[in-house]
C-alpha cells in the first residue's frame, strides 16, 4: 500500500512537470481540429482570422472566463509562469476531482478494507 502511494506521488510529480514546465515548449500551432475548421480562412501571425470564409468564423465565445481561462492566470504577466501555475492547478484539480468522484461511486461494500482477519473498523 505504501509502495502504491509512492508510485501515485511519483506519477503526480511527472504530471506536474509535464503540465507546468514542458507545456511551455509545446507547439503553439492550431491542433488538427482547429486547423481543419480554419480551412478557407486567411490567418494572421497570431492565428486571428483576417480574411476568407471558414467554419471557425462561427465559433462563439466561451460561456465562462474564470481566472484560469485559456491555461493562463489572470494578473500574471509572464506567460511562462501563467502556464506553469495553470498547468499545476489543472493537474492537482483533475486528480482531486477524479479521485473524489471514483471514491464516491465505488461500491460501499469495498469501503471497509477486508483484511485477511476481517479487521473491524474503529
Amino acid at each position: 500500500m505504501k509502495r502504491t502511494s509512492w508510485f501515485i506521488a511519483g506519477g503526480l510529480l511527472v504530471s506536474l512537470l509535464l503540465a507546468g514546465v514542458l507545456s511551455n515548449f509545446a507547439s503553439a500551432s492550431p491542433d488538427g481540429l482547429e486547423s481543419a475548421l480554419h480551412e478557407g480562412c486567411v490567418l494572421a501571425e497570431d492565428g486571428t482570422i483576417v480574411g476568407g470564409d471558414c467554419v471557425a468564423r462561427r465559433a462563439g465565445e466561451h460561456e465562462l472566463a474564470g481566472p484560469f481561462a485559456d491555461y493562463s492566470v489572470t494578473g500574471v504577466e509572464s506567460p511562462f509562469l501563467g502556464t506553469a501555475v495553470a498547468g499545476g492547478v489543472g493537474v492537482l484539480l483533475t486528480f482531486a476531482v477524479g479521485g473524489g468522484l471514483f471514491w464516491l461511486v465505488r461500491r460501499p461494500s469495498r469501503r471497509t478494507p477486508a483484511g485477511p482477519a476481517g479487521q473491524p473498523e474503529s
Binding site: T4, F7, I8, G11, L12, V14, S15, L18, A19, L22, S23, N24, A26, S27, A28, S29, P30, D31, G32, L33, E34, S35, A36, E39, G40, G47, G52, D53, C54, V55, A56, R58, A59, G60, H62, E63, L64, G66, F68, D70, Y71, S72, T83, A86, G87, V89, G90, V91, L92, T94, F95, V97, G98, G99, F102, V105, R106, R107, R110, P113
Partner: protein, 238 residues
C-alpha cells in the same frame, strides 16, 4: 505561448445536435459510472485519479504534426489499458469537464460533443483494438506498448470521424473552398499523424507502468488474480 483552444468551441455545431449529444453523452457516462463500480477498489481509485491528472497534463503538450498544425493526446487508449474501459472513459470525461469549466477550453454547450468524441468513441475504439490485440500479443510491457500504440492510432482517427459525423448532422454552414468529403479526409489524415504521436506517448507510458508496477495495470488483471489463486500468481507477471 501555447495555443489555448484544443476542443470543439461553441457555435460550430448547432444547438439541437449539441443538445442531442449532451443527452447521449450523459446516458453513456451514467452507464460507465454503474459499470465502473465493479472495477473500482482501493488499488484502482488512486490510479484512476492519477490517469486523469496525467491525461490532463499530456493534453497540454501539443506536438507538431505538419507545417502549422499540431496535435495532442486524447488519452483513451492509455486510460483503457491502465484502468479499464469504463473507468478510463470517466477519466477522460473528468479531464474534459475540468478543461471546459476552469480553463474555458471546449464550449459548455459543446461538452456533450467533446465527451462523445474523445471520452466515449476514443476510449471505446481503443479498448476494442487493445482487447483484440491482447488475444495474440504477449501480456508483457512490450506487448502492452504495441497495443497502446495501435489503439491510440485507431482511436484518434475514430474520434476525428465522430466529429465529422456531428458536423454532418449539425454543422449547418455552407463550406467554401472545401467539401465535406475533403474535410473528412483531411481530418482523418491529420489525426492519423496525431494518433502516431499519441501512440508513442501512450506506448512509453503504458510500457513504463507495466514494467514498474504490473499489478497496477488493469489490462494485466486477468493474469494477476484468477479468483482464488491470487497470491501464487502475483509474481508471475513482469
Amino acid at each position: 505561448m501555447r495555443n489555448e483552444a484544443l476542443h470543439i468551441a461553441n457555435g460550430i455545431i448547432n444547438a439541437q445536435v449539441s443538445l442531442a449529444f449532451a443527452v447521449l453523452a450523459g446516458l453513456a457516462v451514467a452507464l460507465c459510472l454503474t459499470r465502473a463500480r465493479r472495477d473500482l477498489d482501493d488499488r484502482l481509485i488512486p490510479m484512476a485519479g492519477l490517469v486523469a491528472a496525467f491525461v490532463f497534463a499530456a493534453q497540454m503538450l501539443n506536438f507538431p504534426v505538419g507545417p502549422g498544425v499540431s496535435g495532442h493526446l486524447l488519452g483513451g487508449a492509455l486510460a483503457a489499458i491502465l484502468v479499464g474501459p469504463w473507468v478510463g472513459a470517466l477519466c477522460v470525461t473528468v479531464v474534459l469537464v475540468v478543461q471546459a469549466l476552469i480553463f474555458s477550453d471546449g464550449g459548455l454547450s459543446a461538452l456533450g460533443l467533446n465527451v462523445t468524441n474523445m471520452a466515449l468513441v476514443g476510449t471505446a475504439a481503443a479498448y476494442f483494438v487493445v482487447a483484440g490485440l491482447l488475444r495474440v500479443l504477449p501480456r508483457t510491457p512490450g506487448g502492452l506498448a504495441v497495443a497502446a500504440f495501435l489503439g491510440s492510432v485507431i482511436a484518434t482517427v475514430a474520434a476525428s470521424q465522430a466529429f465529422m459525423f456531428q458536423f454532418f448532422l449539425g454543422g449547418d454552414v455552407a463550406l467554401s473552398g472545401t467539401t465535406f468529403g475533403a474535410m473528412a479526409l483531411s481530418m482523418a489524415g491529420i489525426h492519423l499523424l496525431i494518433g502516431v504521436g499519441e501512440g508513442v506517448i501512450a506506448a512509453l507510458t503504458v510500457g513504463a507502468v507495466a514494467k514498474a508496477r504490473p499489478d497496477l495495470v488493469f489490462a494485466l488483471r486477468g493474469l494477476r488474480r484468477p479468483p482464488a489463486a491470487a497470491p501464487a500468481m502475483a509474481g508471475g507477471v513482469a
